[in-house]
């Protein structure tokens, strides 16, 4: 995945150079929305080959997390989480109302039980690929996107003092309806974008040991027992939300905001939750790709 991300960065850099530089995302959104609205109203095309706009936000988040996993302990563990998010949106300038979204998230956390005697370390990588139908409202200043994402999560939770149940592997795949609202406005003669994104898993599958099953039975003996569990919104009622504000400082677009990632699952009579609430800050960049014929 690192190679993929590096390749993606290289590709973005390449197309940026080929396009003659980057544009400010807020400026882009203003121009994009107005241009597209006009194109839609007039029902005509501006150019035979629409350019692809790629908007990438790279953010770092830090905040609190509350973790429960009854396979490991009936106690809740609380502590700090550090998260990196790469959030990319791809959209053609005109000709389609569908945008695509790729999100990579990686995070680690360290938590303690209420007595302070037990520690847990968690790590997770989450990949999300989605598509959204875009609707321009309020003369183009408000864009509402509805669609869905395919989410793949892999990670672990490790308790530093348990014996034969010291860790829990996390592996899941889910289809999640999602919605995004973006409001572009000006204040103090500066452009701003207020953005809210929400997604909740509807159906999927996840890995879980059975209630009292040891990992020795699963991986050393190959005794499987409902370890790949189909999930629905009833067994994994979770919500990922992100509220951010984009603003320009000199020639850079910054993003600040809040992420609320509330993951829950109750499968094989085991309960799991991870409630993360964190402050995020990052940089937003937009690129235009241009096809160059030899």
């Amino acid at each position: 995945m690192k190679i993929f991300r590096t390749a993606l960065c290289m590709a973005l850099l390449t197309v940026s150079v080929a396009a003659g530089g980057q544009t400010d995302s807020t400026e882009y959104m203003r121009g994009y929305a107005a241009g597209r609205a006009a194109a839609m109203l007039e029902g005509k095309q501006e150019s035979p080959s629409p350019q692809k706009i790629i908007t990438n936000a790279r953010m770092l988040g830090v905040g609190g997390v509350n973790i429960l996993d009854t396979y490991i302990s009936p106690e809740k563990y609380r502590g700090t989480e550090l998260r990196y998010i790469s959030h990319t949106t791809r959209m053609r300038e005109w000709g389609t109302r569908v945008s695509r979204q790729i999100v990579h998230q990686g995070y680690v956390s360290h938590t303690e039980n209420r007595s302070g005697d037990g520690d847990e370390i968690a790590g997770m990588y989450c990949f999300s690929y989605g598509a959204h139908y875009n609707m321009a409202l309020c003369g183009g200043s408000l864009t509402v996107k509805v669609g869905g994402t395919l989410d793949a999560d892999i990670g672990f939770l490790y308790n530093t003092r348990n014996s034969n149940n010291p860790a829990q592997a996390r592996l899941s795949l889910a289809v999640s309806p999602s919605a995004i609202a973006e409001w572009r406005f000006r204040a103090w003669k500066r452009p701003f974008t207020l953005r809210y994104e929400v997604g909740a898993p509807l159906v999927g599958v996840m890995f879980s040991p059975n209630y009292g099953q040891s990992y020795y039975e699963i991986f050393s003996r190959g005794d499987y027992d409902h370890n790949v569990v189909p999930t629905t919104i009833a067994s994994t009622p979770s919500l990922r939300q992100m509220l951010t504000l984009d603003f320009t400082l000199h020639r850079t677009t910054l993003r600040v905001g809040w992420i609320g990632d509330w993951q829950q699952a109750e499968v094989n009579n085991l309960k799991y939750h991870s409630y993360s609430n964190m402050f995020v800050v990052g940089i937003v960049r937009s690129f235009k790709t241009t096809r160059v014929s030899p």
Binding site: S73, E75, G116, P177, L202, E217, P237, E266, H273
Partner: protein, 337 residues
Amino acid sequence: MKKTVLFICTVFLASGLVSCIDEEEYADSPRGNFEALWRIIDEHYCFFDYKHETYGLDWDEVYERYSRQVNDGMTEEQMFEVLGNMLGELRDGHVNMYAPFDLSRYWSWHEDFPANFSDTLQRRYLDTDYMIASGLKYRKLDDNIGYIYCGTFNTSFGDGNLDEVMLALATCNGLILDVRDNGGGQLTAASKLAARFTNKDILVGYMRHKTGRGRSDFSGMEEQRLKPSVGIRWQKKVVVLTNRSVYSATNEFVKYMKCCPGVTVVGDRTGGGAGMPFSSEMPNGWSVRFSACPMYDREGQCTEFGIEPDHAVGITDEDFRRGRDTIIEFARTLLNS
């Protein structure tokens, strides 16, 4: 499009309406810790039915009896004593409570019986020029009998170590495999050693696990099969020496070995410990260990309270005074006959 928006809104609404997935947290008080501990065991312990049949364990009656002894004015030491006594009702060496100042335990399975092992005596047989391969002590005895002492399965020896040991003792007429005082370790190490004594894939027992909070919620019995090692395998007679301190993974090892051809078990009954232990914790941070995944022999019988040897032999006082290990001498006689 309206239908799509409506559907997505319904999903988010449903997400919000579904209650939080949470677990009741007891207060960090003597009463709260008592309730939490009783419940952890109640929902996870795996031998309630077996121990009810064996000696009449009634966990609900245990609650009633010990609940009366708990009050919120207790000191930590008093609480530890009451809760430790409650866990002792399970008569299980895998059940422990870890406080910063003490460890609650039930060790009657070996403390109430003769040790039947003496490192002073063992030294007379090993002498000082024995060899050690990743924790396995071994040598040839005077009558050309191989002797291996495996004191723990916590150190995982490799196939290379076992090949070297087997090669070094290959010319011996028989082999004594002494696991006395081996309190267990990794099941994988136990099966790796046992795999040197079978030429066929054999059924050695069964294992299962809990599937829910009910005391009788269990999965089906899954076969435990011992596959022959691809390394050097022992083809001559073997005597396995046991005592009451053979426990947990070593109890499993003896169970495996009893299924292998040409193997005789000599010594005292093993200590048992047939439940793979899991951990949990109480509101005050004390850690708890308990049996979670029960294991059975190939007849489906529980080995929680130990395995009988083929020949029950103990070290006699007279032999001890003469510097002779009665159990080793009995094994030598068997192998030389």
